[in-house]
Symmetry: C3
Subunit: 355 residues, 3 copies
């Protein structure tokens, strides 16, 4: 069993995908129906009628009431039954779990844990420029047959760009010449990778118009259970400023940001809501279209790796809790090991509170 942490906000959807047509999602092994009320606000209920277990997502909205497709019980946004056809009174037991839902940062967040602890201030600020009109945002959602930790691992060790994305954002220098810094706090891991005076990778050279070596940086921020924000920047060696850039936020001459909200569907399947953000002024429309396709392909390349890893994991030792069976750690694994310790701590704390 993967240690799924419940008392956290997870991204449940892109706002555009929650409509007046109820739809079903699986999050932390639970079936959830999401839809919008007439005033536009989004609602999440357990996707299972308490009467005969028909999924409520097969039903339809009558005003703000979600009507079960089977025997017509109606539920309001709080999950309270408001109508039981042919009955004067609605039975007390007829209610479904409602999940706190918050629409923010161009994402819709769901709280899967104890309702009383659903504090909106706990939503991590991992959305960067998603709402900034001066930025392009390439967005997508990949449904991975693999555990969520595999995706977190990937983004906490960007040396993989050299091999998985060698035709675009990576070259050997990314793996071999990086100076690594890892900072760990109780609910935050930050990895700074700085590559000084290196040959630029293909897309950096192309879009940055570099004709010489560059300084390049990548800063990955991890917030548990599974949010990632990456700042990527570079400048030509000859353009290097006297005071070095703030790698965590500055982009230099060519750079972009990456955001991931990684939601476990089950122990070994995951939905990765991702966004790559670029300042609009950096690329003309045609060049942007090419870059956009490249970014989508980068995610496809990662997706393939996750699913191949999961096949290996499934063949491996069952006592390993559905996780990687590693022979040991490389220096570049420091951050992902720290992330696992945080995950385990949060999970254990949660288990103690429950029992």
């Amino acid at each position: 069993m993967t240690m799924l942490i419940r008392n956290k906000w997870y991204v449940a959807s892109w706002p555009k995908d929650i409509t007046r047509e109820p739809t079903s999602r699986t999050i932390l092994n639970e079936m959830i129906v999401v839809y919008r009320l007439e005033d536009g606000s989004a609602v999440a209920l357990k996707d299972c009628c308490p009467h005969r277990n028909a999924p409520l997502s097969k039903g339809k909205l009558i005003g703000d009431s979600l009507q079960c497709c089977y025997h017509g019980l109606e539920f309001n946004a709080a999950g309270q039954c408001t109508k039981s056809p042919g009955m004067d009174q609605v039975p007390a037991w007829a209610k479904v779990r409602q999940y706190p839902l918050v629409e923010r940062n161009d994402w819709v967040y769901i709280w899967m844990g104890v309702p009383e602890r659903a504090d909106e201030s706990l939503i991590p600020d991992v959305y960067g420029r998603m709402l900034d009109p001066d930025w392009h945002c390439v967005k997508g959602e990949i449904h991975v047959k693999g555990g969520y930790r595999l995706i977190v691992d990937n983004l906490l060790d960007l040396s993989h760009l050299a091999y998985v994305h060698s035709s675009t954002t990576g070259n050997p220098e990314v793996a071999e010449e990086a100076n690594l810094g890892t900072e760990v706090k109780s609910q935050h891991v930050r990895v700074t990778r700085f590559m000084k005076d290196v040959v630029p990778a293909a897309t950096y050279k192309h879009y940055g118009n570099y004709t010489e070596n560059v300084d390049r940086w990548q800063v990955t921020n991890y917030y548990p259970p599974s949010y990632i924000l990456i700042n990527n920047g570079s400048y030509a060696v000859s353009d290097r400023p006297e005071t070095p850039a703030d790698f965590a936020t500055e982009l230099g001459h060519w750079g972009f940001q990456v955001y991931h909200a990684i939601t476990p569907a089950t122990e070994d399947t995951t939905i990765d809501y991702w966004c790559v953000a670029l300042e609009r002024h950096r690329l003309k429309p045609k060049a942007y279209e090419v870059w956009r396709e490249q970014m989508i392909n980068v995610l496809r390349e990662d997706h393939e790796v996750y699913e191949a890893q999961q096949v290996c994991i499934d063949k491996g030792r069952p006592e390993n809790n559905n996780d990687v069976s590693t022979g040991g750690a490389l220096p570049s694994d420091k951050a992902l090991i720290a992330a696992r310790l945080i995950q385990r701590r949060l999970y254990n704390e949660e288990q103690k509170q429950t029992t």
Copy 2:
């Protein structure tokens, strides 16, 4: 584990689907081969050669002998080996279980329990007008990825017509205006639903040519483990006779009958052999064709609900024996609760006898 009851007759096939070509079916988790002898009588044997476990349904008939496709052992209709190629004598162990089979009422019934208890008089009379030349019979068989109890539930609570079949046989009045009566005997549950002076549902209005409100009735009869007979009738309020119709058998001005034989293939898959019967004089050929398609679609609509419920059930509590995890009961659930009590009693009795 679903509680599968063995000492009962189950429908194994439509007669037309048992031929001189042996075919395989799965019933109560057992593989069964069915075929016809030269005199036309139907036979059912365990579909597994006792020699090397080739399915006998892959073999061929040589006269009345079923020859295994693999090493040519031949079995007669009693499951006795009659030939073992190259041997003078047939080994004593070479026999397969034969299942009592009865062809009646345009269905073929199989006995899955203790052979000595296979009493033909126990076959329930749930076939109504299937053999009556004055009636149309729309027939079909749906293979459901869902437990058999879901189908029984559906037919014991016809309020669902208002929601699942709202374009044809249902309208809100079916759920909201019905007067319910439930009678329970040791092996019979009857639900009478009477809707007085209500707007007729779409197909009632159309085929009954109603221009005013109607009285409408539905009487569902359940016989364990899983037979259903429903009588549906109606008349215009202005045509209401002085003595009300016998709802259990009369059709009034517009009505029809429905028969279901529901056979568990496994704990959570089921074959529903169904028939909707209509007096021939009620519809001209063209109208009949339209009505026929509507009835087939009604079954499709139910089929979708069953499989959606099973997905919910599979996500739910495993301690629930593969059944609905209900929050509570509505008045309309009285019959299906009674059916479950009968099922459980029969199952428990059977378990006691076995041990």
Copy 3:
């Protein structure tokens, strides 16, 4: 659980299918990557990077180094890590299991057991004429959803030709008129089947140009865990020599040889590497093409039986270790019972050594 024997050579591939492009195979439940070094020699490693469990078969060869697709770790043919990008020294734990591999007899053999015991002299001589330029070899590999013992059974009881291959190599005489001899040694079972003065089967009559009855023989040799060599021969009764042929090696007027290397992929899936060999002078090119198609079809017919058996087995008794649940034995089962005893003995010996 099938008793999978590890300390044996198994065929892992046809030589032509191991190239400079790494590919993955599953053998005895383990994922293996195979590829060739620059000098052409074949290598097999565990197909799972010890760092983050990416399959090495997704990687690429850099000279003789297999580079992991994910973070670029490189492994040599011994499974030792030779490069860890960005590190001066390779970590001691970074190694993958290497499997002894031997290319011989037009097959590539892998040793799945304790490496120290990988003695090439233990590779069984079951390849007959595969390397003989005067012989045609029809070869193939079938991926069976069924346990390996089902395939061994098939080849140790050739009476099935009468039923499974009745349009080509079999007729009732093969099952009914055979004189059987079974010899059992500690790691060898031989079944001799001699059919005296019988009607020739279809392909025998056609290609042998027989106009009268024949003497026909089949000798199956089994070497554990799962190698089979079959010698098939025949002559017309009127051509019968004074000294009878050596059935184990001679072909008479019309005959051919069959070789099988049967490799368990998992407990209940298997790869059967097969070859049917025929002296070139026996058939003109056009006739050979027809015969070739017939042989491929013979294997297809067997394949269907295996998978049908496995379905029966899966429905059957779980305590039966994923094997046939037989009611008893026929005389023709003597050899396959002997094979099972050998398998069990070898498995038990192995288990004792491990613990």
